[in-house]
């Protein structure tokens, strides 16, 4: 448990030092939100209706950049080899990195959410549903993304293969997150709470399977 926390803190610390996510990924996400507004010709009603979908598309794009970053620090100077040589169980590395990704993504979502709130003029009807579904979705995305991050970590074409592998897998999460937000924001009359089960199951399966598969793949990373 302590090792998970150590790996997670390390990831966050590297991020705070290099500031790639803060100065590049976050502005990119906000920019995407703004571009969507242009695409919808600043139609307030449409933006309000589709805010959940647009928000989560943006998050998925940001996740992709985030994960690339999270694993490029590992392979940059071969630090992942030192991680292995520290005799840490691969599962702990998986959970550590997933946790760091979760925390980073969640902060990004909060900032992006505030931007969406002001730019798209949405209103929140059920804050608790909003927060719970965001947490579950982020957990699901973070665990799946960590698995696909290590999968593509030292492939030459990782920037192109990673979205191709990761985005289709995240579609169920994406659908669930949108529906839950639809309900929470009062955009569409659906039962958002029911979707939490899909998000939860997805997060659980990926956390469990990912932690085992991570070791399989870590062994082959050079």
């Amino acid at each position: 448990m302590k090792q998970i926390w150590q790996v997670c803190l390390k990831d966050l610390k590297v991020e705070l030092r290099s500031r790639i996510v803060i100065f590049q990924v976050l502005p990119f996400a906000v920019l995407t939100i703004i571009l969507f507004a242009f695409a919808f010709e600043a139609d307030r009603a449409a933006l309000r209706d589709y805010a959940p979908g647009l928000f989560w598309v943006t998050v998925l794009l940001a996740t992709f950049l985030f994960v690339l970053r999270s694993f490029s620090i590992e392979v940059e100077a071969g630090a992942i080899q030192s991680l292995r040589l520290s005799a840490v169980k691969p599962q702990y590395i998986f959970f550590g990195k997933a946790l760091a990704l979760f925390i980073g993504m969640f902060i990004l979502e909060v900032i992006l959410g505030v931007a969406t709130f002001f730019l798209y003029d949405v209103s929140v009807e059920s804050p608790s549903l909003l927060i719970v579904s965001a947490i579950l979705t982020t957990a699901a995305i973070a665990s799946a993304a960590t698995l696909y991050g290590i999968l593509s970590a030292n492939l030459k074409a990782r920037e192109t293969i990673l979205p191709l592998l990761m985005l289709p897998v995240l579609i169920p999460v994406f659908l669930g997150a949108i529906r839950a937000f639809d309900d929470a924001l009062g955009a569409v009359a659906v039962n958002g709470w029911a979707w939490l089960s899909v998000l939860g199951v997805f997060a659980f399966i990926y956390a469990v399977f990912g932690s085992f598969a991570f070791g399989e793949i870590l062994e082959e990373v050079e």
């Binding site: 293969i161 191709l164 199951v201 793949i217 050079e222």
Partner: protein, 240 residues
């Protein structure tokens, strides 16, 4: 020199398969009647439905083979996974295509987002395109690539029910024929033709998988021959 990937048994299998496809064509076009509602378009279902079922059979086989490969580390399992994934993806593409062709006259649209099975199949298609793209990547470490691919295939297979469930909830309505076999009263010959379709496609899966497996096997053998050669060269290098 005999260069074919076929053997005596696969040839017989191939002949039976060819015969069953010819029979399928005869039954589908001449023996079976028009449907009351769909008219002649029902004849598309004789390939569309077996194609769809075959897709799922192939993908599930791929997932299972990948799992066994990760546990047992025997490369044959990987060959099976690769073969079934490739064949399944062809079936999947054709399922989508014939579905679209069928949907045009019957639903009056090429594509219907409200349909669960359609959308699920599309996502599956994308998942396995990713898998094949990963496999097609040149790699300095084939060993690692094979393991990565196995993980991707297992994830994709586990995802089938999740995707299905989530798409179903997402659009809580479906245009698809809900178990046509049970609800509608199907003419005897229609039913028989469908069964014949399943049989023909089942044989096709087996026949194709055997041949594709052998191609993968040959590629593996070529690799190991090259390795032996390289090893020999390397040893000579060290003896100088």
């Amino acid at each position: 020199m005999n260069l074919s990937t076929g053997s005596y048994r696969t040839k017989i299998l191939g002949l039976v398969m060819a015969a069953s496809f010819i029979a399928l064509i005869i039954f589908a076009f001449w023996v079976s009647p028009n449907d009351d509602q769909q008219g002649g378009a029902v004849r598309l279902l004789y390939i569309h439905v077996p194609l769809a079922i075959s897709t799922y059979v192939c993908y599930i086989a791929c997932g299972i083979a990948s799992l066994v490969f990760l546990i047992k580390k025997k490369i044959w399992w990987d060959y099976i996974a690769l073969s079934t994934a490739e064949i399944g993806t062809i079936f999947c593409g054709l399922t989508l295509l014939t579905g679209a062709i069928w949907g045009r006259p019957i639903w009056n649209t090429w594509w219907e987002w409200g349909d669960v099975r359609l959308v699920t199949t599309l996502i599956l298609f994308l998942l396995f395109l990713g898998y094949l793209a990963l496999r097609a990547m040149p790699s300095s470490n084939p060993n690692a690539n094979v393991r990565r691919a196995a993980v991707v295939a297992i994830v994709a297979t586990i995802d089938i029910p999740i995707i299905n469930r989530s798409v179903e909830w997402w659009q809580n309505r479906t245009l698809h024929q809900r178990s046509t076999l049970v609800e509608l009263k199907i003419e005897d010959w229609t039913f028989f033709t469908l069964v014949l379709g399943f049989l023909a496609f089942g044989l096709l899966i087996i026949w194709l998988t055997i041949h594709r497996f052998r191609v993968a096997w040959l590629a593996g053998e070529i690799d190991s021959l090259e390795t032996e050669l390289a090893l020999k060269k390397r040893l000579e290098e060290s003896n100088i």
